[in-house]
């Protein structure tokens, strides 16, 4: 009886051990073909390549908390005559430079900066058009928008007339005009936006262009 047990037990144990060994090997050897594909919509944002792990995992801020650049140290600009910085900070804290002009300071011009493409040119242009009570542009219309030089590159220029209802405003301001420049790069998108009563904006259009041209990187002086 004993010998019979051993006769069957030993091969069974060996077989079990082999099967366990083979199972553990197979755990890393399995292969499978990828069969599913998907077309990406033309509306989908384009992702960026070569983003470091610290950025992918939102670890940048922890990495260098003290080295956040100061906007005023990065750029220089020349204020047009009659323009001055707003005395009160904007409630959203989004405006890096917030300017006022006009007899009653009703004209506004500000610079803002957002990381990445910030939703894309189409979304931002149409958001501004909606603020002016205008219907959104199609992709073709946006592609045909004029360009103006900005930071040694071309930025998209927009000029809309309409009733302006800014963020958080209760009612729209009638007879307004908006001028704007949007420059989008992989790392960030910079906006220069001017709004005010149409006549006042028309008087300051040249000043707006000069102001945009004056915004330059604050490079260290060569000795």
């Amino acid at each position: 009886m004993r010998s019979l047990t051993m006769t069957f037990l030993q091969p069974s144990c060996a077989l079990l051990a082999c099967s366990l060994f083979m199972t553990s090997c197979d755990r890393l050897q399995e292969r499978e073909a990828i069969t599913e594909t998907r077309d990406i919509s033309s509306h989908a944002p384009k992702p960026h390549a070569d983003i470091p792990s610290s950025t992918r995992f939102y670890d940048d801020a922890k990495e260098q908390p003290q080295q956040r650049p100061n906007f005023r140290e990065l750029l220089t600009w020349t204020l047009p005559e009659g323009w001055k910085e707003s005395a009160t900070p904007d409630p959203m804290g989004m405006r890096l430079l917030d300017l006022r002009f006009g007899p009653n300071q009703e004209g506004e011009c500000y610079i803002s900066l957002m990381p990445g493409p910030a939703g894309g040119l189409e979304a931002n242009v149409n958001r501004w058009r909606t603020q002016m009570g205008q219907t959104p542009y199609t992709a073709d219309e946006i592609a045909k928008l004029p360009k103006k030089p900005f930071f040694n590159r071309d930025a998209t220029f927009v000029a809309f007339d309409g009733d302006f209802k800014g963020f958080g405003a209760e009612a729209a301001k009638t007879g307004y005009r908006m001028l704007g420049l949007i420059h989008s790069a992989d790392q960030a998108t910079i906006f220069v936006k001017l709004t005010g009563p149409k006549a006042l904006v028309d008087q300051n259009t040249a000043a707006f262009d000069a102001f945009c041209l004056s915004i330059k990187p604050n490079l260290p002086k060569q000795e």
Binding site: S24, R27, L28, Q29, E30, R31, E32, A33, I34, E36, T37, R38, D39, I40, S41, H43, A44, K46, P47, H48, A49, D50, I51, S53, S54, T55, R56, F57, Y58, D59, K62, M92, G93, M94, M114, A118, G119, G120, E122, A123, N124, V125, N126, R127, W128, R129, T130, T135, P136, F167
Partner: protein
Amino acid sequence: MSDSSKSLPAKVFAFLSSFGLATSVLVMLLVLTFLGTLEQAEHGLVASQARYFESAFIDRIDIGACWRALAFNAYWDIGNVSLPLYIVPGGYTLMAILFVNLLCGGIVRIRKSPKTIGVIISHFAILFMIAAGAVTHHFAKEGNMNLREGQTADEFLSFHDRVIEIEKVQADPKAKRNVLVIDEAKYRDLTDGKGRTFTSESLPFDLMITSWRKNAQPKRDAEGSRADAVDGYFIQELPQLDETGAAMADEQLGSACVAIAKIKKGDEKQTGILWEFAAAPWTVTVGEDKYLISLVHRTYKLPFAVRLDQTEEEKHPGTERARRFSSKVTKISGDHEEKRYITMNEPVRSEGYAVFQSTFSSGEKEGTGVKSSGFMIVENPADHWPLISCIIVAEGLLLHFLMMLARFIKVNPWVFSLSLIAAFNAAFALAMWKLL
């Protein structure tokens, strides 16, 4: 005819159409509903639904979780006790059996007479409702789409289905983009020590997935001492229960895994961590080409595009509590544009899809100052089937009760029942018309 003299098909039919089978299935469904509801407290709605109601067989019952849900642990804590099972039928199997049972017993075998016509109609409607459940289970898609003002999209993301996507970066920005997709079902078993290599002829590398976690977060390997660190980070597993001990919603769980790209030409390997909440994909570089690999929710395509023109939040007077979110959108189909208005409980329905307003953001929290809307998108071919079947069940039972009443009061059952049903329906239609 005695049972022993019946042929085998007759015996099978008798079993499938029997009251005993119906009773057994209904009792088991009751037990599954009870256990699934208890387990939901710790495992979450999605996991419990999948285990008890969508499965062919239940893989295990978490007795410990059920015990704690009943608060019995206050008297006797049994700890984590699990009953591994593979023989108890799940909700899917039971509903299939119930369908066959009702079809055989409630439609084919039932005596056909004016007395039973109402019951037969009701049985038919219940079959229709079970079929609606099957169609929803197999073909319905649900997800969300977030749009900022001015933004256009024609894709939405599944709430619960995850995939790994591989996209080759195109040099031409106008080139048509497409991705290879690996469904989560193909890698969610790949916990520590397990790996699977995914291959495609269109890729210059094979992709091995390993160390998958259901809920995790990449953590910096500050001391550089971890053997499992990848590019200075390791996957730290997180609990799936919140501070109160309740299961976190499936959408709050962020899965992660390690991906190893084995370059086909040569022995080079590139290793990265894929995380569901990562800000950007992981990049694999092969020669001049770059490939973006990301772990994301499954993307579904809409047959039309939606542009968010304007979104508003209406608050209860004098409070910060939201009363209503609404959105003015443009539905774009080719060159055709159509203005539509979406608000809570008033979705836009088109081409088999329903677009519901679900969330609103003023942009203040995100620091962007740009308002955005979240839309829930549902595509369900059986969207209205349960409502239709409920109405038919009600009509069938009403007919049955009225015919029984007519016999009792000795009037013509057909005239009495059908005239009253017509009157009830007219009153119901009038009430609905006035209400809506």
